[in-house]
Subunit: 151 residues, 6 copies
């Protein structure tokens, strides 16, 4: 089942590279800007990636949904948080978003399966392996929240 994610990553990298190598300066600038806006600021990357997920889903773009699901999972978004996000998507965007949510759930399962395989690998290699489902960046987020409050 990991194939879908692998295919997504492979095609995305290959074609982004082509877009950027053939594209002019303005296209490069747009791509730069596209990664800058999700960086930590007054709002943490985690919240911005969730926003990216919501925007992608109500605009109904499967590839964009897949991308932000992956990024959100890296930012430690839990299944419970994902499903609450799906509710916001569903209520704002309507039943027309349901087919995208079905595919999102499938993608999410694949992401979790990958995370689990990675965690097993780490455990076998004697590493801590404590990073379970969607808890990857939790420490980093709490760090950020602390910093923000101190401001």
């Amino acid at each position: 089942m990991a194939g879908k994610l692998t295919v997504f990553h492979a095609f995305r990298s290959k074609m982004n590279e082509k877009l950027l190598s053939k594209g002019n300066l303005q296209l490069k600038r747009f791509f730069n800007l596209d990664s800058q806006v999700y960086s930590d600021g007054a709002l943490p990357t985690r919240t911005k990636e969730l926003m990216g997920l919501v925007a992608s889903a109500v605009l109904r773009c499967d590839d964009c949904i897949t991308y932000h699901l992956i990024r959100c999972a890296e930012e430690g978004v839990t299944d419970e948080e994902f499903f609450e996000t799906f509710n916001v998507i569903l209520i704002v965007g309507g039943s027309i978003t349901i087919p995208h949510l079905r595919r999102a759930v499938e993608t999410l399962e694949e992401i979790r399966a990958q995370e689990n395989r990675a965690a097993s690998r780490k455990r076998r290699n004697g590493e801590t392996g404590k990073q379970g489902k969607g808890e990857g960046r939790k420490g980093r987020v709490e760090e950020w929240e602390k910093r923000r409050k101190e401001k």
Copy 2:
């Protein structure tokens, strides 16, 4: 300038009432659901209202943007946070969202003016008046964050 917000609230309440009084059970259920999805859960209301703002803006609905700007401000979203949200909207949704962002900035100014008037009133009445720009619900959010971490 406070007129725009007042007109928005007046029309919204009047017509929602008519929709609900004339509408059937299913319409009422949709409206109920619509407020439930933004309530505190795994994700705080604040984040969900920001998601609502992003969804409204990329789908380009001025009234929905106004509504979520008001709600976000009540949840203590700061100007800096709003402008980072506008960046996500702009990059995902493109320049076609700019006219909506212009109107959003105008609405935001009006919201802040109202907050300031309310704060002055409180100060004159000997109340604490400490609640400045976008800090309304901050205590409540920190409370929520603490509870979440304890889980």
Copy 3:
């Protein structure tokens, strides 16, 4: 309150005329086609106008909604039918359609007020005046349904 409908009709006629007088043959053909597709066929005009209303609402175009509300009312669509249609719109298109439904309810009230004034006028003039709320074309529709079954 009748002003909104009057303004709508006036602007619509004036600008359609300009579009058609300045526009080329292809624009005229599109406009012709646009009225042909709603004519009675295997499906009655009434159903097609309801379809037009749904399409306009999920695509969120207030002027198109107003136009199809007027046409549907002429085809005898009742308030109960309108509100069931609003439910379909709401569930497919999501809460982003709510501001349009608010304005639709306002427009519908204005349409009914006009119908009532017309009915009063008729009664005063000794006419039958039996045509009440949204029952204008009912006879015609039943006629059509009968014809369809006989086929």
Copy 4:
């Protein structure tokens, strides 16, 4: 050729089940509401499913189109009625809907093939087999129309 429909049904059921088992109460409520709005009321299910088809097509969601094509066919919508509906879709939504209409025609062919196989099976089994192309629920609709007029 029946594969496309079978795949659609299989994926849809599997993922809906997952959405509902993992999703929270609000997601379940949305799904309930989603089936309620198409039930017989002032407007018959048949008309509402046609509305669902139009909404899905102008919002350009292939899976939603497939779903409503299937449901409309179950409600006895004939080819002639489908093609008139496609006209409304095409004129409101523009040429951007054409690729979806191409796929819709392909799906419709598959649906009719299934209906024919089911009808043949019934005939072979000595059943009435009178239910031909898109006439499945005709009796039920007439029943409903009669009831509505009696009101």
Copy 5:
């Protein structure tokens, strides 16, 4: 009638200024990029502004349509060219774009009226005044076409 354009310009400048003064670096970069992509390159500004008009119209944003109508007129787009562009918009985007085209025709009339007033003023001041309807930048475009062919 010139009021509509004046109001558009005034609000646009005022709010863009606010967006840029309050906005962060990324918002400024987006705005820069937004003007860069329409500059002369392999394709002339004129063609790109027409593209901007088409994109704005099928995405149905009145303010964006107004902006690109103004820019296209400055680039010397003629009425005949505008109406052929409206045909492309209408066929791709469907009848849902018609209300926007009605308003576009109204805006175009206002633009032409302004051009005529400017031309009269020039003539009165003894200037050449040869720049009539939509011919403003024609020399510049031919210049560009010549350069492109020489490449």
Copy 6:
């Protein structure tokens, strides 16, 4: 790799034929109109096909993008011009269009590969073979530009 284009053409022709053979007069008229609006007029076909590409991309329809990429290439649009067009699409439509641009670049590569194979074939057959990348209709366009200026 040429398979994607071949599959596209095969499915498109087959289903258009079915749409037109089963569809009624109005559907045929829409299809006629759809080809008429791209014909040479005050604006050349080339510019109109580029407009069609932009409209398809901001409305995010892969099949429509593929179709207009093919037509633009036939009209002699160069890679540099395509990438400037992609910039306009990207800035107006936002990052949500990126997955479509990725697929567009892939399609464009396939189109160029086909052009190259056709050119090689011609050279082998002793034909001029001068028609390289995207220069197919260049003579015709210059012809048209000359005619337009003479008007």
